[in-house]
C-alpha cells in the first residue's frame, strides 16, 4: 500500500498557524513524524484559510523537501496553485487532484506530463457527487480516456472513487468499495486506485475504528494507495495485517516490524 500522509494541511490549526508564521520547523516535524510512521509520500495542502496559496504552496514544498526526498502530493482544487508547487518541487510529485471536468483535465494532465508527475483523478464533476457505482465509473472512464489521449502513463494515474461520510451516505458504501475493483479494469494496463480515508468517519464518534474497518475492506477490493493519518498506529497495524492476509507480504511472527523495516 502506498501511504500518503494527510497531516500537512492548513485546515489543522497547528499547520495553519505554522504557515501563517512561516514556522518551517513545525512543518518539518510533522513531515518527519509521518514518515517515521510509514508514510511513503506526504500530502501538502495550504488549507482553505490560506490568503495567498500561490506563495504558501511553494513555501510548504521547500520546507518539506529540506528534510525528505519522498514524493510530495500537491493538494489543491486550483491548477495554478498546483503548478506553483510543481515548479518548486525537486522531489517526485503527485497532483491531487483533477476531477472529470473538461477544464480541469485540460489543465492538469498536461501539467502532469510536463513535470513527470503522478496524478490523482477523483470521480466527481461540476454536476456534483456521483450517487451510485455507474456514475462513478462513467466519470472514471472520462478521466482515463483523457489520460490515454495525452499519452499519460496509466501506472501513474490513481483514481479516487470519492469517499463520503458513513453517517451521510450509508447506502453508497458498498458502491464505493465495488468501484475500486471496477476502476482497475477500465483499461489494460489499468489505473491504480487511492482514496481520502478520513472522510469516511467525518462527524462520527468512532473515527479511528470506522477508518480502519473501511480501509481493510477497501484493501480487499484491491485499493493501491490511501491518503490517511499514518500516526494512527492501530490503523497502520490493521492495514499491514490486511495486506498480509491477501498474501502481499510473507508472514513471520514479527510481521508488523518486518513491514516497517521495508
Amino acid at each position: 500500500m502506498f501511504i500518503i500522509g494527510e497531516l500537512i494541511n492548513g485546515m489543522y490549526s497547528n499547520i495553519g498557524a505554522a504557515i501563517k508564521e512561516r514556522n518551517k520547523k513545525e512543518i518539518q516535524n510533522c513531515a518527519l513524524a509521518q514518515l517515521a510512521c510509514g508514510a511513503d509520500a506526504l500530502d501538502i495542502n495550504c488549507g482553505p484559510a490560506s490568503r495567498q496559496p500561490l506563495v504558501d504552496m511553494p513555501w510548504l514544498v521547500e520546507a518539506v523537501q529540506e528534510v525528505t526526498d519522498k514524493p510530495l502530493c500537491l493538494d489543491s482544487s486550483k491548477p495554478v496553485v498546483i503548478e506553483e508547487g510543481l515548479k518548486a518541487s525537486r522531489n517526485k510529485t503527485i497532483i491531487n487532484s483533477t476531477t472529470a471536468d473538461k477544464e480541469k483535465l485540460e489543465a492538469l494532465i498536461p501539467l502532469a506530463v510536463k513535470y513527470k508527475s503522478k496524478l490523482i483523478g477523483i470521480a466527481i464533476s461540476a454536476k456534483g457527487i456521483p450517487q451510485n457505482k455507474d456514475q462513478r465509473l462513467e466519470l472514471a472512464v472520462a478521466i482515463v480516456d483523457n489520460c490515454l489521449k495525452e499519452s499519460f502513463p496509466m501506472e501513474d494515474l490513481y483514481l479516487d472513487p470519492i469517499v463520503l461520510p458513513v453517517n451521510v451516505a450509508q447506502a453508497q458504501m458498498k458502491d464505493i468499495l465495488e468501484s475500486i475493483a471496477e476502476f482497475k479494469i477500465i483499461s489494460d494496463p489499468g489505473p491504480k486506485t487511492t482514496l481520502g480515508l478520513s472522510n469516511i468517519s467525518q462527524g462520527t464518534h468512532m473515527r479511528s475504528l470506522i477508518n480502519r474497518t473501511f480501509l481493510t475492506m477497501a484493501v480487499a477490493y484491491g485499493l493501491d494507495s490511501a491518503i490517511l493519518d499514518p500516526k494512527d498506529k492501530e490503523l497502520i497495524d490493521t492495514l499491514i495485517t490486511a495486506e498480509l492476509i491477501l498474501n502481499k507480504n510473507i508472514y513471520c511472527d514479527s510481521y508488523l516490524e518486518a513491514y516497517r523495516k521495508k
Partner: protein, 311 residues
Amino acid sequence: METQLVLEKWPGVISTVTIGADNKDGGSRINPVKIGGQNSLPLLFKEGGIPNRPAVAFEIWDIPPQDWDEELVLAYGKALNDPFAWADKCVNEFKAQLLCVRMQGAHPDSGNKSPKEAANFISELLKKVKVPLIVIGSGDDTKDNLILPACSEAAKGERCLIGCAVQDNYKTLVASVLADGHYIIAESPIDINIAKQLNILISDMGLSLDRIVINPTIGALGYGLEYAYSIMERARLAALSGDKTLASPFICFVGQETWRTKEAKAAPKQGIIWEIITAASLIQSGADLLVMRHPVAAKKIFDYIDTLFKK
C-alpha cells in the same frame, strides 16, 4: 511478427556480501569472494543486473572424517588425515575459491575439542591458506556457543562467514560476529516464515541485514530438493519485490546433503552425479554459494557456471 519478451523490472535488490578481507581491508585473504547483488531472478540476464556468479566452496573438517564415502576418500587420498594438507589440496590442486571448515572435532561425540584448540586451529588454517573462510559449528548448540566465539575472535577482521545461527540459538553467535567483523549464516528448516523471522531477530541485535546469508536448508535430489527450490524462489520473489528482510544471498550445503543419500553411495560415480545435479538445480533456484565435497563435482559445477555466464 517478432516475439517480444516480457521483461520484469524489480524494485528490490539482493544484498552484496564480500567474504574475506584482503590487506586493504585489514585482513590477510588474497581473493575475497563477492556474492549476491542481483536484482533479477536467477540467470535472467535481460531483466536486471547479476553482478556476481554463484561461488563454490570446498568443505573440509578440522578432524579426519570418519564416515565419508569411499568415493570421497578416494578423491582426497591421504590428505583427509591432515586438515591442513586437505585444505592445501583443495586450494592448490582443485583451485578452491573458498573453504568451508566444519568444526566437527569440537562435537562432544567426535573429540570434544576445547574452544582454545578450535581457535588455534582456525589461526593456523588462516596462516596456511589464503582463500576466504566459511566456519561452521559442530552441530551441538551448547558446544558451538563456546567454540564459535573463540573461532570468530581468532579470525577477527578476516571477514569470514560464520554459522549457523538458528531461531532458538542465535544470540551468542550474533554478538561474536558483530564484534569481530564477520558475516553470519542464518539457518531455517525449509521454512520461509522462520527465515524471515530469524533475519529480523538478528538485525534487532544490531547486525545489519546486509551481513546475513540465508541457509534455507536444502534436500538433495530425491530428498526434498523441490521444497527447497520453491522456498528459495518465494523468498527471492519477495526480496526482489522490496522485502529487505529476505534480501540476503543463499548458501546451500550441497555436499553434506548429497552424500547422506543412499543413491550417492549405491554405485561408483553416482554420488558425483548426484552432487552435480543437486548443485545445478539449486543454481537455477537462486543459490549464491554452494558448499561441495567431491572435487570432480565441484569442477563440473564451476565449468557449468562458466557456461551459464558466458555473454
